[in-house]
Symmetry: C2
Subunit: 409 residues, 2 copies
């Protein structure tokens, strides 16, 4: 019998004993680790346990009681299970790039995980003009390993199908289907947040462009039906915790089997928002140039390193007989790059004119500069969507960005 | 308490009492229905219960005891559940075109269903040169209704995803992935059954044609990843029970969420095998022409009626916002027709040169005629695969068949 055989909501003073029982030996024998509640305690309660002498620390995330008794929270509890499971899977194929999960406790609805101390949410860092020179290297390893290694190119097909089943994610996919793939084009729910001085521009460029709607529709069905790889599903710079040396990818609650390009395109789009923010808000020309150049270089490197690492890992690890026939890798990678460009465009548009806009854009105080930034975003985005089969290298993205920027200079 | 609360293997004398308890009122009050065991009693035992006075009859299919205690049979029992569930779903959207399921009893592992008396297995009928003038009409209604109405074009997206989960079918998909999409091109399991006089021809046309391998590989990943509609998954003429007036589709154990073209292509390919058998074995020229013309007309009608009914039902029933944008129906139907042609070719090849050949071909006794039939099949099939985007109407299939036949005349 243990006092943790039945659920109760832990307080700060309960956590050290919990960790001692559940993870004996994590802290040195004589340690008396200190516990502090962190996070905003909305649905989840997050604690950090630190042993000042050894410097070791750990994080405990528990689903709150309120969460457990209301109807919504059956979902929330299951999200905890899914989150722990996917972090385990991602950690196995991309070690060091997601926080380690030491334990998921179904009774206490608690996950004990690696402390990401010393890391900042990437969007916050980027908005302070921080540059992360190794980010492209880290994120492309994460992308290629978590994506390619969960496909039926590499995995046993039966095991892959069991994962598809485990990660069917109707609630969170619906959010994406509405917010990314429908509302920004056909504002049927009237939830779009359009910056008023751009209202006419958006009406003409998004709501009235029927050819664009058709391409968005094609990409929507691709998102809903293509069970290609176990994707993160929400890989923007708010899901990344980073410092100069290291990158953690987190918050995988949108994960399901979908098209790889969704993850790659999300990263590229959100890196471009960092460019927009830097370009509009850094006053010193040299500093502005340095930061903006770094964002563009990073976009270029993400695309090119993704391609290079994908080819290398595919050659090493592809097992499916037909995946090894001549020309298939080129074809397969080509479809992924096409999806990537399409999603880059969709994410850029929905984060500028949909329900959930990014701070990189909304915090640009100078109205004229915000108008310009948004028009650049939409112009580049539409190019990505409409000509997605032509985005085959980092250079292609740089050129498309240059064309959009030129148009509004 | 009922004697059916615990599993036992029913004998002929048990069945009337079982049906009386489980389906009271199915037979008239005073009826004394007669029971007979039908089917080959391999894993399943099949009984037919007939009341000679009212003419009413019913079929009971029970999973055998041996099946229940060996390890394999967990699968078999679950197949019974899946079979009952999908027949229910298909019956709801295509009433009258699948046998009705009156009851599925998880304890007794028994399904009570409509008697398909008066129907013949279609392949058997076709090999006796029977013609079914309404078949194209019936099967296209079945195809369009069961396929389109289970997509996220029409269904609530969350409900559709739950169905995807319910019908993940790893074991039976693996059979298709190997037998249809891999082995006929790369004989790595050495299970292909190639007619010896055609061995060199097959080596050159299938094993050494690397461009063909690439197209087969593309279609394989399409089959594995595209969760488009709840497909039957094995819709050849051995899964159809038919007479001049009526058609039943049965044996849906391969069902899962896959590309619609898989079902449509299977039907077309197997109708062409009927042409091959008639062409090679009917001695009387007028009779031969009549039967073969009917098979070609049926292929043409299947394609054209599928397109027409699909467009009509889509216009009535599409609910997804983006599925209703201008041009999307044309695009979507285009991808389905492309898959259809690809699968027509793959099914033709695998049923001629793979592990599971069709009787329509293997019973052609005259070696020279069989050699010719198989070469026509492979030539037409490769055209379907390699030029699949150009097969857009029934006429396109007729022309491609004519070209292949001409080549070996």
């Amino acid at each position: 019998m243990s006092r943790y055989d039945e659920y109760f909501l832990m307080k700060v003073e309960d956590v050290p004993g919990y960790v001692e029982e559940k993870l004996p030996g994590f802290f040195p024998e004589a340690a008396t680790p200190e516990c502090r509640e962190i996070g905003d305690g909305n649905l989840n309660y997050v604690f950090r346990l630190v042993d000042p002498q050894s410097g070791k620390s750990i994080v405990i995330k528990q689903a709150g009681e309120a969460a457990r008794i209301s109807e919504d929270i059956v979902i929330s509890t299951d999200r905890g299970r899914i989150e722990a499971k996917i972090l385990g899977l991602q950690g196995a194929v991309a070690p060091g790039l997601v926080p380690k999960v030491y334990l998921y406790d179904e009774v206490m609805c608690a996950m004990v995980m690696e402390d990401m101390t010393g890391h900042t949410m990437m969007r916050t860092g980027l908005m302070q003009y921080q540059m992360y020179p190794d980010f492209a290297e880290h994120i492309t390893t994460f992308l290629v390993n978590t994506l390619l290694l969960t496909t039926d190119v590499v995995m046993n097909h039966k095991e892959k199908k069991e994962l598809v089943k485990d990660f069917i994610n109707p609630d969170l996919c619906e959010i994406t289907e509405d917010l990314v793939y429908s509302e920004p084009y056909i504002d049927y729910n009237h939830r779009n947040n359009v910056f008023l001085p751009n209202a006419e521009f958006i009406k003409a460029e998004l709501y009235e462009d029927k050819v664009l709607h058709l391409e968005a529709a094609k990409l929507k069905f691709q998102f809903m039906n293509n069970a290609q790889a176990l994707i993160h599903g929400d890989l923007h710079t708010g899901s990344i915790f980073i410092n100069k040396e290291h990158t953690f990818v987190f918050d995988p609650e949108f994960a399901f089997y979908g098209p790889m390009g969704y993850d790659v395109g999300n990263i590229i789009a959100n890196m471009f928002f960092a460019w927009c923010h830097g370009d509009a808000t850094i006053k010193d020309p040299a500093a502005r140039r340095e930061f903006c150049d770094w964002t563009l270089l990073t976009i270029e490197q993400i695309v090119d390193m993704f391609i290079e690492k994908f080819r290398r890992l595919y050659a090493q690890r592809a097992t499916d007989t037909m995946a090894r026939v001549e020309g298939f890798l080129d074809y397969y990678l080509g479809t992924i790059l096409e999806d990537t460009a399409g999603v880059t465009g969709l994410e850029l548009i929905r984060r500028t004119d949909g329900l959930a806009n990014v701070k990189d854009i909304t915090t640009i105080e100078d109205s004229e500069k915000r108008v310009r930034a948004e028009r650049i975003v939409v112009t580049f985005a539409k190019n990505c969507i409409m000509n997605r089969s032509q985005f085959r290298s980092g250079q292609d993205y740089r050129q498309a960005i240059a064309v959009a920027v030129e148009k509004f200079s």
